[in-house]
Symmetry: C2
Subunit: 302 residues, 2 copies
């Protein structure tokens, strides 16, 4: 029997800093309802879906900074989203800023949680490739993820949920081939990705017209080279004055984009993914055990 | 001062088994002359450029098999090509079947030689990802590279020639992200690729329409993710009854295809490559020292 799963990429329009958590959670529930109505049973939301993309600002006041973080997931404000998942029988992945109280110290991560169709947290992923810098740099668009987030410390986990093997990745992770390769080697069939990608970068205005191409290219190659399904959700549109690209999509193990969001607003795209295609594609070119040369790749890990 | 090099991808139409070596070398010299006339100083020829793609056949007679191999490179028949390089002041890479006499035993490799603008061999690469099988397999297009070639044993070398840092790859190598990553980590600025890719595979007729997409996708991603220039040359057209795709191209570190062959015949495409673009692209997303997580990639090398 063919194994299939209907995937949903739930793109969000901007989340302005003026938006309250309950307001955002309401939008997320509405997106989840649209995905479920379309028959989807696994959805992906963007990176930092609960807040504005605050690393675009230099924030020195710790109290002001902490507002953007979740000290626990779920909590009273986000639990309704998990309740909706259970009611709608749909799993989902969602990105948020995570704060871990470690004695007196605070550890901060750019995190994605995976929730199953029972509304239970199946696991966490913490962004491995944290881009930007710790301090603003001259001539470079302010992007302080490396100040606000420690590099992920949970590896590239793959979770069994609802009979599927699911890996997670966040934004910049999707540009690095090692992300997909690690998830594939760890057994992923599906990779769920959330992202926030500014349209314009001060450091490379001459590459601005390629931002969407550079969004899709590595995800399509990652899907093809690792024979996985990819579903990716953007936060899009003009958020607190910064333009973010959309282009949320679902990509087959052939590398083909099978569903694509065309707005910069809240939008759900779905695709009925045939998991059998993974095996078909792998047979043609990607019999890893036969063809890979891991002993020859040592420099990649050094 | 901007460093630039004009690259040439020298696509070949079919090399029928009836073609003599001197005849093929004559064609290659003609292609090299066209490349040089267009101002190119570094060219790439296909994989197994001197012969038909013989792994499509089961060949049990060793004498018949040996005809396809070069016992030395260059030899009297191929030296005119290196003389032409010296005369035209153009370097090139070329694929051929290499036989190494190891005492009584013969070692066979799918090899690419890099020749500098002095007509001197700068180094060899031996195909690392050898596809196909040792015996014909039911339902699968005959492809016996694993019978006729041992997996490469020279790693992923990068050569300094004519002031450039050049890596090589052959055909199936281009589908594996590790190829580009290893060459990049070894310092490549330019990756030269030769390939022979059948249009139709018995094992996946439903993917036939994606053959060209699957040719370009991993090369574009490899160029982008490793900020290298890629020049790739196909052997194309109906060769001894088997249709081979073309699509020879030159790809920028942005992942853009900057030059593309549109025939299935002998054809030269060139592009004036700005090596400064490597640094520009790297600065935007790919500061390896800052962002990569090599200690987290261990499974890739296991």
């Amino acid at each position: 029997m063919t194994r299939r799963v209907k995937l949903a990429a739930c793109q969000m329009g901007p989340v302005q800093s003026s938006a309250s958590r309950p307001e955002v959670v309401g939008r997320l529930i509405h997106l989840l309802e649209r995905a479920a109505k379309d028959g989807a049973t696994l959805a992906v939301f963007p990176e930092l879906a609960l807040t504005t993309f605050f690393p675009r600002w230099e924030i020195d006041n710790e109290t002001k900074l902490d507002v953007f973080y979740e000290a626990s997931f779920p909590n009273a404000e986000t639990q309704p989203l998990l309740d909706a998942a259970r009611r709608l029988r749909i799993g989902f992945a969602i990105g948020f800023a995570e704060m871990v109280q470690d004695g007196a110290a605070k550890q901060r991560f750019n995190t994605m949680a995976l929730v199953d169709a029972e509304g239970q947290v199946a696991g966490l992923y913490r962004k491995m490739h944290v881009p930007g810098s710790e301090m603003p740099e001259p001539g470079v668009t302010v992007h302080l993820e490396r100040r606000y987030f420690a590099p992920g410390n949970l590896g590239f986990p793959v979770f069994d949920i609802d009979g599927l093997r699911v890996g997670l990745a966040l934004c910049n992770d999707r540009r690095w081939p090692e992300t997909y390769r690690m998830l594939c080697l760890n057994g992923a069939e599906i990779v769920l990705i959330g992202y926030n990608t500014p349209l314009l970068l001060d450091e490379a205005p001459q590459l601005a017209h390629l931002r969407m191409f550079h969004n899709h290219l590595p995800m399509q190659a990652g899907a093809y080279q690792n024979t996985v399904w990819v579903a990716a959700a953007a936060k899009a549109g003009l958020e607190d004055g910064q333009a973010l690209i959309g282009g949320s999509c679902i990509i087959a193990p052939t590398g083909e984009i099978t569903a694509l969001a065309t707005s910069l607003a809240d939008e759900v795209v779905t695709y009925d993914a045939d998991l059998g295609l993974i095996e078909t594609c792998r047979r043609v070119n990607f019999d890893f055990a036969r063809y890979r040369r891991p002993d020859q790749y040592r420099r990649i890990c050094e």
